[in-house]
Each structure stands twice: as C-alpha cells, then as structure tokens.
Symmetry: C2
Subunit: 722 residues, 2 copies
C-alpha cells in the first residue's frame, strides 16, 4: 500500500479488526454500511468517514402500514380478451402478482381508466363498460374483436424488497412498501423522518441515498411461466398516480391518458422513441423529484453531513444529464458499474464527487447466481472477476476523472481470499495514481469530436438502458463501451434538436447506431426531412458520419430508402419491398484505413437486403453476399457504414479508425501497435495499459513514430515520460 484516500470500504459489525485492517491495507478513507450489514461503534469511531445508506420511501414501514392508501401506483393493461358475443368480461389482475399490485378502485376509475377495442385500435366509450369486483364488463362488444382495460393499481410491495425477499426466500419477513411522496403528508413525513434520523446518527458523515423516490418499472406476474412481466431501467411508469396526473394536466394544460403510459402493452420502454407527452411527463416528474430531493439534501446539510446519491434502483426523476441535476445540491453521485461506459456516465455528471461501486459485490453469488466468495467452490474466483472488471473499467478512467471507488456487501467474506485482498490494494493504488494525473492536468483528447445521435440525446448520455450483459446484442451500447476508452470528446444529441437547429458546431463525426424503430437509431424521428437535410449538408460540406446496424432507418411512404441517410452512407437495406430490384455488384477491397489496424471484419453480421447504391462506395468487407463494412467520400465529407458492433479490442480499434477516417483528419497523437493496449498522455506522463488478461509486447507510437516497446504483464498499467 503506497497511497490512501478515494476508497470506500464496506464495514461489518462483528468483524471490526478485519474491517480496520482492510481499511488500512486498501487506503480507505471511508467506511460504509451495506444492505444487511451494520457498523459498530468501534468502526463508527475509527476516524474514517462514514456513509449511511437510506432508501427514504421504504424506511418507515410501520408508518406506511398505518397509511395504506398512500402507496405508489401505476397503470397496468389487462390481458386481452376476445369477444364471442356482445359482452366481454375482463378480470383485471389476471396474470399479475397480487403480492405486488392491488386495484385502485377508489380514486380515478372514471377519470383515468380506458377500455380499448384493440382490433380497431380505438377506445370504448366510458358508458359502455362498468367495473365490479375487479372485473370490467364491456357491453356492445363486436364478436371477434379483442378488448383490454388500462387501469390503476397501487403497489403494496416495493420492488427491491420484493426481489431480495423472493431471491433469498425470506418467508414471512415483512414486505416493505413504497410510499408516494406526491401525497403531501408523505413528503412531510419523509422530511421529518430524515431530520430525526440525522439527529440520531451523529457519526454519519455522508448520507448515501439509495436512491430517491421512484424505482424503475418492474411488473411481477402470477403465472409460473411468466413470473416477471416487464422491467425497464429507464421507465417512468412507476411515477403515475391520480395526484400526479391531475397536477400534470393542471400545470401543462395537456391531456395525458393511461394509453400514453400503456401504449398497447409496450409501456414506456426506454428502447422506444419517447412521445412528446411522455418527454413532458419526465420533465414534470423531474421538477417534483428535484424539489423534494433538494429539501432532503437541505435537511442533511443542516446537520453538517454530506448527501450522496446512488444512481440505481429508485433513480427515476434524478436524470443527472437533465442540465438541472446540480440544483438538488448533492455532494456526490455513486454508480454501480460493470462497464467502461457506466464509468463515463458517472464521470460526466456535474457533481463534486463521482464514485464508482465496483464489482464483484461482496456476496456469495453474483447478480447472475454464479458463485463468487465461496472458498474452494468450483468456478468461484472473485480475484479474476475483479481484475476483469477493473481492466474493463480502467480504459474509461484513463479518459475521464472518477474521484472515488469502493466496494459493497459483506466484508468478512473476503477474509479467506488473500489474493483478492492484494488485488483490491493494487486497484485502489492504480485508481489513486490515475486520479492524481487527472488532477495534474488530465488527459490529452484527440482533436476529433464525436456526436452520438439518438432519440434521447444528452438526457441519456453514456447509457441505453441497463447493463451491457442485459443488452448483449445492442450495437449502440457496444459503441458506447468502445468510445468509453477512446480519446475522442463525445457528446449526445437528439434527432429533433438536430432537425431544428442543425448539426451542433462542436461535432466532427456523427454516429447513429442501432436497430430500426428504436430510440437508439431514432425511429420515426428520421421522417423529418430537416434532419436528413441537416446531416446531408453537414457531411457533403466536410463532416463525417458513422452508421452502425440500421442507421437512420425508418420506412416512410414516398421515400426512396429505408436508411434515410442512404444517399450519404451509400448503402441501404431492402426491407423486402424492393426484392425484385437488382442489387449492384461490388468487389471487396479490405485495403482501407478503417481496417488497417484492426484487420479483418469477420465479426460483422450480414444484414439481409443490405446493398450498395453507387460504385464509388468502397466495400471493405462482406458476409453472405452483402456488404458489412463500407466507406465513401461524399462531397467534401466521408461516411462509414458497419453492419454491427460488438465491443472488443480489435473492434474498438476499428471503430476508432473509422471515426478518424470519417473526420477527414490525419491521425495524430498516441497509439499502440496492439489494440489490446491503450496509451494516453495524462497529467504530464504517458500511461500505457494492458487492457487484456494476457501478457503483451506493445509498441507505443506518437504521430506514427515509435516511442517505446514494452513487455506488459496481464492487466498492467505502465508509466512513461512524455
């Protein structure tokens, strides 16, 4: 151990000596509690900073039980029922967990519920349906038509409590409930309770909110074959209730209906482009969360403590990239991370302290149920896990400043793993060295500025929705993971903003990636001709474009192409409606700067119906007879198309080279001979990382000239003079 600070250790009562030993070994300046652990007086009094974890909406279950109608709510859509005659009966909660949901039949049935004929896509007038005993009966039904009901439910079991309870088989342990802070008495109670708590916990230096008021959406089912119905990390479905709906209508003058949330059973899935009214709703919820959040932070500050917020679980409404996050006054943001892009997500937020909670979590099993801290158990290797995660993350830390790292869980589990203890010590030291270099001047960025174009834009910078292992096939998320470790400045932009204002001045190369119809590639936002014209003139005037998978894809009547930027990219995809039109022949010519460093493009998947539009489009690689990588000069600009992207050392290097080439600039600055290694000029030194778990011999080059050749141990971090 050579340095201290910037490290948060999970303490554990009953293991005081080990806690303090590890605190010293890893240079921890802070000790935290975790779900299921306590800190004893010996730890609290050890002179370290103390984090205390609070989840305000479920902390006072006794109070919640005494106020049974003040729980959080949401809309559900019933199962569809097909009419055989002119009456249909729909049992509303069929298929849903009655442990999680109870019908709200006391407030807003006539006002908010909607019955739809889903065969016509139209609403059934209110006079033609009635509710009784949890069943809606529709009169005047059309035989052969299918009907659904959108209805309000109250949730009687908070989702994270539910998950831990069910996963760990906690039997009759209490179900925690989530109160709805839109009810004034709930908000007042939360503030009072927090004030009291601060008085009672003088040792706490940082209140670590986990998180604020609204969990991401998570519907549980009652069928053995459908135990979970819907989960979306970015959805505002759980912010709905009669109070909020009425306030929204009052405040905005807009109509908002159940169907704006239910969306024929799609709900407000983040991967779908958001509707205008849903965007407005998220802003409306943001105002509320910010206001009450600010009041909670004020309470904490009044007691001389800091307030940090954990950016997971009940994070909805926080939106660290809303541009107004700083108004809440948080002193720190903590993000649980598996990947580099999540570190960039944290690093990019306007907040004094940005902290990462590393994996593995100190638990016997990991999130996917595999053994971790179980001595002697086959497959359990937490040291290898940590090293793999760290090497993945570190690429991002070389590019953007993270102030603190830490662990969570049961520290005592680490005791038998001496090699894990060593590995954490090295990780903590590397973190502190990288942080020091950031403070000494930070990294030198490449002169190419990349703008990522999605339906969400800056609001959801550096994320899609969920972790990479939850979205293993999502090309944009892999692009973000590659970008997280590359030297480009990266900004995020909304399609409609570019349509309105043109390509932002600070962007050299635009990136659009993902499957058709999603918020990631942009969906029907591409129907706006202003957007297409803005990017076309941008590229023809000298800008760069990188399209991945189905860039700018939207099937719009009267248009020539599925890819609305096809004339720029020089490729398009036939959706089947041009099947009998001949495909232009091409020759594959892999000798191109885009493939120069990464070599082959065997990893790129063939997209059926993809074809080149002009002979001046260079095809760099093909599979199953269709191009998978192309490059074209377009006017004074350049466009590159890749049929997919899956992050890895070689593909990240290819992406980097594609961005350089598309920018039209000669490549300058540092690079390495091996895509598995990164070289960064930072704080007056050159850091060279081996981003792989094998030894590598790596040449470091500046502006194409060799600086040094290094033999790097697995995962090594090496320092050279500039």
């Amino acid at each position: 151990m050579t340095t201290t600070g910037g490290f948060t250790l999970p303490g554990e009562a009953g293991h005081e000596a080990f806690t303090l030993a590890m605190a010293q070994r890893w240079g921890a300046d802070v000790i935290r509690d975790s779900d299921g652990t306590q800190l004893s007086d010996e730890i609290l009094g050890s002179g370290h900073g103390i984090y205390s974890t609070l989840c305000l909406i479920r902390e006072d279950n006794a109070w919640a039980k005494a106020h049974p109608r003040l729980m959080q709510q949401n809309f559900l859509m019933s199962r569809p029922v097909t009419a055989d005659g002119d009456r249909v009966e729909i049992r509303l909660l069929d298929g849903y967990s009655t442990d999680q949901f109870v019908l709200n039949d006391w407030d807003g049935v006539e006002e908010f519920w909607q019955v739809h004929d889903r065969t016509t896509g139209t609403e059934v007038p209110a006079g033609r349906w009635a509710l009784a005993d949890g069943v809606v009966t529709v009169a005047g039904a059309v035989p052969g038509h299918t009907y659904t009901v959108n209805f309000l439910v109250m949730r009687v079991w908070e989702e994270i409590s539910m998950y831990n309870h069910v996963t760990n088989d906690w039997g009759d342990r209490e179900h925690l409930m989530a109160v709805e802070p839109r009810y004034p008495e709930v908000a007042e109670h939360i503030l009072d309770w927090l004030d009291r708590w601060c008085v009672e916990h003088p040792a706490t230096t940082v209140v670590r909110f986990t998180s604020l008021f609204y969990n991401f959406a998570w519907f549980w089912g009652s069928d053995a074959n459908l135990p979970h119905v819907y989960a979306d990390w970015g959805s505002y479905d759980f912010t709905v209730n009669p109070v909020a709906l009425r306030a929204f209508r009052e405040e905005t003058g807009l109509t908002i209906t159940s169907e704006d949330f239910v969306n024929a059973g799609r709900y407000t899935s983040t991967h779908n482009p958001p509707s205008d009214v849903y965007r407005r709703w998220t802003a409306f919820v943001g105002d509320f969360v910010r206001d009450l959040g600010r009041r909670c932070v004020d309470v904490v500050h009044r007691h001389g403590k800091k307030a940090y917020v954990f950016y997971d679980d009940s994070w909805i409404g926080l939106e660290p990239y809303s541009g107004r996050f700083a108004e809440m006054g948080f002193d720190g943001l903590i993000k649980a991370v598996f990947s580099g892009y999540e570190a960039r997500l944290c690093a990019g937020v306007d907040v004094p302290v940005r902290e990462l909670r590393l994996h593995p979590y100190l638990f016997p099993v990991d999130l996917e149920g595999r053994p971790t801290f179980q001595p002697g158990v086959e497959g359990a290797d937490p040291t290898a896990d940590l090293r793999r995660y760290w090497v993945t993350l570190r690429r991002a830390l070389l590019r953007a400043r993270i102030d603190r790292i830490g662990l969570g869980g049961y520290l005592s589990l680490v005791e038998p793993f001496a090699d894990f203890q060593d590995e954490v010590a090295q990780v903590a030291d590397q973190h502190r060295r990288i942080l020091a270099l950031h403070r000494a001047g930070g990294p030198v960025a490449a002169p190419v500025r990349v703008g990522v174009l999605t339906a969400w834009g800056a609001l959801r910078s550096w994320t899609c929705s969920g972790h990479l292992h939850e979205n293993p096939d999502l090309s944009l998320l892999h692009v973000l993971e590659s970008l997280a470790g590359l030297g480009f400045d990266v900004s995020f932009h909304r399609l409609d903003e570019v349509a309105e204002h043109g390509v932002p001045a600070g962007v050299d190369v635009l990136v659009n990636a993902g499957p058709q119809g999603t918020a990631w590639s942009g969906g029907d936002g591409w129907a706006d001709p202003r957007l297409v014209a803005a990017i076309t003139t941008f590229v023809r005037g000298g800008g760069g474009l990188l399209g991945v998978e189905q860039p700018s894809a939207a099937d719009v009547p009267g248009r020539l192409h599925r890819f609305q930027l096809a004339e720029v990219l020089g490729v398009d995809q036939d959706g089947g409606d041009r099947h009998v039109l001949a495909r232009r022949r091409f020759v594959v010519d892999p000798d191109h700067p885009v493939l120069a460093a990464a070599g082959a493009a065997d990893d790129l998947p063939p997209l059926p119906g993809l074809h080149v539009l002009r002979d001046d489009v260079r095809v760099l690689a093909a599979a199953d007879g269709v191009p998978v990588a192309t490059a074209a000069q377009v006017g004074r600009g350049r466009a590159v198309y890749l049929s997919g992207h899956r992050h890895g050392p070689a593909s990240a290097r290819r992406l980097e080279d594609a961005l350089w080439w598309a920018s039209g600039r000669e490549r300058t600055g540092l690079t390495t001979s091996d895509p598995g290694a990164t070289a960064v000029e930072i704080g007056g030194v050159v850091l060279v990382s081996n981003d792989t778990l094998e030894p590598r011999t790596v040449q470091v080059l500046r502006d194409g000239v060799a600086l040094a050749t290094l033999d790097l141990a697995p995962a090594a971090l090496h320092e050279l003079p500039v």
Copy 2:
C-alpha cells in the same frame, strides 16, 4: 410405346427421319416449331398436327422500323441526385440501357412526368423544373434534399429478343422491336399481318401465341455492376404509354400518375400489395388485351385453325384467373413448368386444352447455364433432369387434369441420348395413363377445403411471381408446391374480399403465409379490423387457420400485436418495440398429430422475437429458444403456426397433417407410410407414386388400415385396384 396422343414434339428441319422416329416412339400427335427451328415440308406433311409459334408484337420488324414512334413505352425513375445548392441537374437515362430505352420527349412530358423531392416525399411543382437534352433541371431545390424524375421512355428493343441476342452474342443481328397495339394503326397492322400469315401457312393446325402484347417488366442497366435493374414476372409496368394513360383517365374518371407505377423506385412489384388504382389499371389493360386478343383468335378461327396461348413472356393482361379469360376464345393454354404448382396453375384454367412444356428444354445448356445436351460433358445428364422434373410435376398431375405435355428446342440434340429417349417415352405413357384416369372419373379429393389468403387472391391462383428456383426462400411458394400434390381442394382469396364478405362458405382451413409487408402475407390489408374479426369468429366458431412465417403481420398503431391474428394463432412476433417485455416460458412437446407422420421439425427456422401468448398454446418444436411450430385449440376451432415452410416430402406431409388437424376432422382416405410416396384414388384405381429418386418400400393405407405394401423403384408409378 403403348399409347399415343397428348404429346407435342419439337420438329427440326434437316432431321426429318429422326423427328418422325421420335414422334412415333413418344406417341406424339403434334409437331411444333421452336425459337430457332423450322419445320420442313416433309414434317408439315407427315399427318401430325402442327403448332406454329407467333409473337405478334415483334413479328414484323420492317414495319416497326418504318413507324419508329409506335413502340411500347414505360415509366422510369431517374437516379436520385442530392442538391448542394438551389439547382439540381438530373441526367434522366443515367444507369439505364440506351439500347433498350429512348426518352419519350415528344408526348406527355408536362402531362405525365413528375419530379419529386424524395427527402420530403412530395412532388416538385411543374413550374420548378424544365427538360432540355435529356436533362431535367430543378430550380428552388433545398440543399441536402434528394430529387428524382419519373419520365416516359420508349423501348426500342424487345426484351426477349434482347435476352437471346445478348446471351448468345449475336453481334449485329437485328434488334427486334415491340410495337404498341394501343395505337390503332398497330392493332390494325397486327390483325392484317396475322390474317396474311394464316393464308400463307395452310399446314399449321394450331397458332401458338407467344404470347400476346405485353412482356413482364424487365429494365436493363448501363452499369457493368448493375446490368439489370428490375424484373418482375407479374408487373404491368410495360403497359404504360400516353394513349393508355389518357384512355384510363377518360374511362374511369380516376387520376393515375407516374408515381402510381414508379412508387419511389419499387415499381409495380408483384410481391408488394397492389394499390387500388393499380388493380384498376390491370383490369383496364385486361379489357384491352381481351378485346384485341379475341380479334386475333377470331382471325385464326376464321382460317380453320386453333389458337393456343403460351402463358409466359408477353403474358401481361391475359390473367387466366380473371374470370374473363374464356371470353378470348382460346382453344388451349400452354405453360412452361418446373414445379407442381405451375402444373396446377395450368390445370385450373377454364380453357379446353391445358398443355405443359416440360423441362429440360432441348438446348445445350439450361436456364441457369449448366450443361444439358452435351454428350460426355461432366455434369450433363438430361435424363436425370427429366426424371427429377417429372417426379416433381407428377404429384400435381395426379390431382388435376393436364391434357397434353410436350418439349421445346432442338430435337437433334437428343439423338446421342438413347436413355433420354426411353425416359421421354415412359413419361409420355405415364401422362396418357393419368389423363385416361382423369377422364374415367378423376381423383377423390380429401374432405378438407383449403383457402389461401393473399392480397392478390384468386387472380393469381397457384402462383406468386416467377419460378420456385427464382424465389427459393419464399414460404408461400413452397406451401403452394406442397399443396399442388396434396388431396385438398384449394381456393385463393383476397384479404379485402374476406374483410368485406367474411370467410367464404367453402373453406375449412385458411392459410396465410409469407414475410411481413408482402402481397403474400397481405401487408397493410391486415389493418382492416373487419378482416381480423371475420377470421377470428371463423376459427372460434370451428374453422381452421394455418399461419406460416409472418402470418397477418402488420405494424399498426394502437394494436397489441404484430400478427393481427395473434390472439387466434396464440403466438406473436416482437418487432423490437416490446424487447423489455418478458417472454412466456414454454415446454416443447412434439407428441402431436401435426408432427406425427413427418417427425422432427428441425428444418423450421427460428423467427427472432417469436413468443407464445398463452399456456394453452402447444409448442411442438423450438429453435434458438423460440417456438417454430405451435398448435392451439381456439374456441371450437384450431390454429397451427409454422415459422417457415420449404417443400420436401417430410415437410409436405407435415403441412398435410397440420391442415387435417386444423380442420378438426379425423383423417380419412388414402395415405402412405412414407412421405416420399403418394397414393391417390383416381378413375377407379389407386395410383401409388414414388416421388423420390430412390427405391422405397411403402405401405398404402386407407382410413388407417393397410391396403398393400409395395416395393417401388425410383420414380415408379404403380397401380392397385380400389
């Protein structure tokens, strides 16, 4: 040789003895000429019937050259051009073959041409563009927008002439031109010429029209990498010209524009659901073709000859399934066939004589350039080719009557192939025996009536567009090929007719098959709730439904499902907009009547995002984690889903079993223990065919009881008493 008749032999001058020997050997009652062959007086006087092949629109090239503005026309769309400034110049014929097309700049430029801003999908007003020297200049263009011109061209080289010329490298041999019979002087000339021809050819007993006036669409390109631009066997693109357009507007009162044909470069591809105005156009062209065709037939009849028509090449407007084909008075219809469904297509037409032209064509190479009649050349095996084609076709002939078969090409090529001569003799005898059984009472059909539902319906019965080898992945075409040899009555229905009038009374099981958006599965026709309600009530009331690939697929706002019949089928496909909704778990249970005979369903492809909607849906097979075959009881009816279909003995048997099961009837009648063999009760006997090229031991069963066990030679046709 045991029987004679029903066989058409291609004669060849200079090989008279061989011609007559083969005529006797194969029992030919008719001798025909072919492209490139002549019949000598010795053959003409041999006592056989004589077919003479005529293609009216290109027979008198001298006349055509003397009337250079009376050629056929069509619309083309220019290449798209993107504006950098406010003026765009578009060179109209760029990329198109100027051997095929010349600009029609003398008639209808202002009246019919259209310029489009394809970035907005809107038309540029006529005052903002001008034509000069083959270039259209657009003023007031928006930078970054892309423009195209729809314009009229005259065709100066008939497509079949062009194909033969280019393929055979005929150098300076004359280019044949296709005259436009909408010009009254052309129609008169055709009739006069035909009259003269009949006078000059007394030996001809049958005029074999190849075919009438309009070829299917076929655009040639000028780029080495795009030598063909567009080809569609069912398209009416070549029926367009100013005379016809004006007549259509006059007659119907409807507006029709260039864009109704160009359709943003899709043209009138048969695989896309036709627009209402295009349907009306095909009927309008049909009226014209019928009228002039009738007058041609009358000329032929006046000379005491018969008139047959070849249903290929210039077939557009004939539409044998229009319900009005018989009005033309043809004595016979001849169809070139590779597959069973093409035989059913021919057999189902209301015309006195239905004749098949078999493959292989007597040419040194086949249509795909592989050697056939080349003695000693590796891979050339015309006998095996004939046997394979015959076994393929024969399944259909057992089910529907064909009156004649024949060959085409250079008979002399057959001389070195004694085994081919034997094989033809056997084929001719089998044909005559099957025909005799049809005449003796015909086949006994299964009591299950199948209705195939497409956007085209009955008009395009027993076909999609083109041959099976041209559409190897089209599930509906494979379904038709399987149905061609099964014992069900098959009818064809249009989506909009079912929406309007309900499921026709004569249908027991509806079939909908093909990719989303196509005319085959039906496209946006599924947005009509009347259609969905009609089929839903049909099935719930006891009907059957078989969905293949993406049945009833259409993405319609406000609907629950991509498959509009998902609530009936019990499965749906997520198009990505429900990615975070959980998928119902299922168990695979292959023990079901649908798979009982065919066994495994390993050939069925996984369709990404396919999922079951209810626990009562039986999953019979799955691949890559998604169901590929399911079966469900729905009310009193039944529904089966198959993710694809590729014709073969086992898959055809599976399809048969699926249709029986969906019908709800107990299977009755004849079957075999081996899907590679067919048993049919026909004309008072049982015919058992080995539909494979290997020997098979086959048990024949009636109503589940064994009738006989047979050792069948490859391709054998065996006869049993009833």
